[in-house]
Amino acid sequence: MTQATTQTETKAEGFEPRIVAFVCNWCTYAGADLAGTSRLQYAPHVRIVKLPCTGRIDPLFILKAYEGGADAVLVSGCHPGDCHYTSGNYHARRRWTIFRRLLSLAGVEEGRLFFSWVSAAEGQKFADLINDVTAQVKAAGPFKHNPARRQAW
């Protein structure tokens, strides 16, 4: 997977994307741990910000990541029905549904915002997800038309 990822690097020579991931503690963070204990190799560009629950994720976090120049944002938590807090992910899902549509209308292109459910048992899914997201962002190149980006003075 990792090799495949590096081969898709076409758009910008030597482009190493910056991807910020907001994940919940109980499922996706644990899924990432499992990817580790299973020694699954994946692309190294994603930086995780751990929250207790996807319900904690405010759209402001996503905007802030874009503002700081993230090439993509990934949000991941427990599958529906698996939330450690029973319904945080359902609340989060509603917020995302609207916010991602709004961002799209405002010009944030496809492939700059990813959502996934990754359970604590899905180490492989986590690794595949990271590789796939990284490959897509690499292929798309730097997020040049990022409307949220802080401009240099």
Binding site: T2, R18, V20, Y29, A30, A32, D33, A35, G36, T37, R39, L40, Q41, Y42, P44, R47, I48, V49, L51, P52, C53, G55, R56, I57, D58, F61, K64, A65, G68, G69, A70, H84, Y85, T86, S87, G88, H91, A92, R95, A127
Partner: protein, 658 residues
């Protein structure tokens, strides 16, 4: 000024092989606020921990980042070490260099670069951590058990044996539940009443158990350790303090034709009644619906006959408030209504009965004194057909799940019938025989091999009554691959086990979830099978899922262990990761109150010195909050924040990643 210590663990070769730990330590030392940055082979070892402790003391650290394995692995270890060195444990954070970096990347420079990032982020976070202290919650060491069947009785007895008080609430006039109605029990065929009634008596006489029969839970407020429960004591019209249980009243009561619920409507009872002779408490109640004194003001026989003047026609429902620290829900089950199956007579054929009716026919204390006689004409049936999976494993008309107990009790029914009617024929229609359990498969084999029950694998497609009174049972024998038609005198349907009607209301009161079938949801299907999403509320018996008696008793005892564990200390300590409302910013739009999965966000009236309400705001109940932070993100005013994951901390983490 922040004084942060960074400790990089090699984890032997686990991290060190792919991450240049010394380089990470060097880079970390340059970060603003970092006053000490060290790497070591095994940070979790005693010398490793000692290194952290010494640095905390010598360098007067205000925060610590341990860059090692996953916090799920050793956060507790390192936080304890920090606390031992006098640093508040919540001023320590971990950067996950092993699971999230060294184990998943091979390129050493890249992995090292990522490791530096992970440390940077955590250094910025920990600078914004504040000291947190475990939340202490008072615990009222009394439990309430809802439901007086075998689950509730067992849970109550075990809690009481542990020295704690129990209030056992039962909605019918007697405890005992369904088990009291059974004739014999599988797989040993011992008499149900013989093993149950001593427990019922023990529960009633135990000094730590308060029985509240003929009572229902009306409201539940509060939270773990501190529930306030309102219980409705229904009007009994008989003063239990005066009544001796002599029985004159129900012997003389002129209303004797009321179908007995206990006898599954096959027997009759009077309007003033005890459900069965061994009832506990053995004191009658008046059924207000059928008593002519209460409905029409005519009669009064029981009052005249009562030697103790215990009858009071003016009795009213009474609401009682109790304070309890834990709640056990043991509300049990009922049988699915087979009248939905038109092909089985739609409930109109009187000789097509359910499992409980057969239990009562087989019971020595039942309406036929233990003789198997069919309801229509009281004749002994010569052919009985038993149909398993009636409503179970039927997604279309019934329930999708397996009711678990029917294979066993149908085998028992067939056996009991053959023991009582030696020349009778017992035919069992089944889909599969699911007899997993100690001695269970042997039991079903015995029914077939020793007791001559004829097992036919297949579904029954139709039952109808022929003019001569015979029930014609048509079905398929799928093993032989041919249709079968049996002339039966009695048909017993193994109706699906379903939760009690109206159980959702109780679940909502307690904050307990339930599935689409209405069974109460446990907190985790494997690892927390007796807890619920509501802290301090536990589940025992068939209210959670279909269960037989041994499983029910085991779960009830597990509940008791959980309750006694909770009551072991006078105060409960909770992780201080909770939400807090800034009441100056809150405009009381109630979005958070609507959102909280635990009902932890609540209205709070702010009053002036005169006691006038100046404004209403949201407030988080620390006892209930589980720290998910959903309310925080929902709040447009950012008037709520979550300790441990504050906006400032997360903002700093994101900003560090620029």
């Amino acid at each position: 000024m922040a004084r942060i210590g960074v400790f990089i663990c090699h984890c032997g070769e686990n991290i060190g092989r792919t991450v240049d730990c010394a380089a990470v330590a060097q880079e970390s030392a340059k970060l603003p606020g970092v006053v000490v940055s060290l790497d070591y082979k095994y940070m979790c070892s005693d010398p490793g921990q000692q290194m952290i402790k010494n640095a905390i003391a010598e360098q007067k650290l205000t925060g610590v980042v341990v860059a090692a394995c996953s916090p799920r692995m050793h956060e507790t270890t390192f936080r304890r070490a920090a606390a031992e060195a006098g640093l508040n444990p919540y001023l320590l954070e971990m950067a996950n260099l092993r699971e999230h970096c060294s184990w998943v990347h091979e390129d050493r420079p890249i992995a090292t670069g990522k490791a530096v990032d992970l440390v940077r982020v955590m250094v910025e976070k920990v600078k914004r951590n504040r000291a947190l202290y475990p939340i202490q919650v008072n615990v009222e060491p009394t439990a309430m058990v809802v439901g007086g069947g075998i689950a509730g009785i067992q849970a109550a007895l075990d809690i009481a044996a542990g020295g704690k008080k129990v209030i056992l609430v039962e909605k019918s006039p007697s405890i005992g539940g369904h088990m009291a109605r059974l004739s014999e029990t599988f797989p040993t065929l011992d008499c149900s009443q013989c093993i149950l009634t001593p427990r019922m008596v023990e529960a009633a006489s135990h000094p730590n158990i308060t029985l509240m029969t003929y009572s229902e839970v009306e409201a539940v407020d509060g939270f773990i350790g501190n529930f306030e429960v309102t219980i409705r004591k229904k009007a009994r019209y008989v003063d239990p303090a005066k009544c001796t249980g002599c029985g004159s009243c129900y012997t003389k009561c002129p209303q004797k034709k009321i179908p007995s619920e206990f006898d599954a409507l096959l027997g009759k009872r009077s309007a003033i009644y005890t459900p069965f002779p061994q009832a506990v408490p053995n004191k009658p109640v008046i059924d207000a619906e059928h008593c002519t004194m209460l409905t029409k003001g005519k009669c009064g026989v029981c009052k005249k006959i009562c030697p103790r003047d215990a009858i009071n026609y003016e009795d009213k429902d009474e609401l009682v408030k109790v304070k309890v620290g834990a709640i056990v829900l043991a509300t049990g089950f009922e049988l699915w209504d087979h009248s939905k199956y038109g092909e089985y007579g739609g409930g109109r054929l009187v000789d097509v009965i359910d499992g409980f009716q057969f239990e009562r026919l087989a019971s020595a204390s039942g309406p036929t004194a233990g003789e198997i006689r069919r309801p229509s004409d009281g004749q002994v049936p010569h052919t009985v057909v038993f149909i398993q999976c009636c409503g179970s494993r039927d997604e279309k008309q019934g329930m999708a799940y397996c009711s678990k107990i029917c294979c066993m009790y149908t085998a028992k029914h067939a056996m009991l019938y053959r023991h009582k009617v030696h020349d009778g024929r017992a035919v069992v229609f089944y889909m599969d025989i699911r007899a997993a359990g100690k001695g269970y498969d042997e039991f079903t084999r015995r029914a077939i091999e020793s007791d001559g029950a004829e097992y036919v694998r297949g579904r029954v497609s139709r039952i109808y009554r022929r003019a001569d009174g015979k029930l014609i049972v048509r079905g398929a024998d799928t093993l032989a691959g041919r249709p079968v038609s049996i002339e039966a005198d009695l048909v017993v349907l193994a109706d699906a086990v379903v939760p009690r009607k109206g159980g959702e209301k109780l679940a909502q009161m307690c904050g307990v979830g339930y599935d689409t079938n209405g069974f109460y949801s446990e907190a985790h299907p494997k690892l927390r099978p007796v807890e619920t999403a509501a802290a301090g509320v536990f589940l025992a018996g068939a209210c959670q899922a279909p269960k037989d008696i041994p499983d029910t008793v085991a779960q009830a005892s597990a509940c008791a262990a959980k309750v006694l564990g909770l009551f072991a200390a006078p105060k409960l300590e909770r992780e201080p990761i909770v939400a807090r409302v800034n009441q100056n910013l809150c405009v009381h739009c109630r979005a958070c109150i609507n959102t909280c999965p635990y009902g932890a966000t609540q209205d709070r009236e702010i009053k002036d010195r005169q006691g006038n309400v100046v404004k209403v705001v949201a407030e988080v109940n620390e006892g209930l909050c589980q720290g998910c932070g959903t309310c925080v993100a929902i709040c447009r005013s950012n008037a709520i924040d979550l300790d441990g994951f504050t906006d400032e901390q997360i903002f700093a983490e994101i900003a560090t990643l620029e």
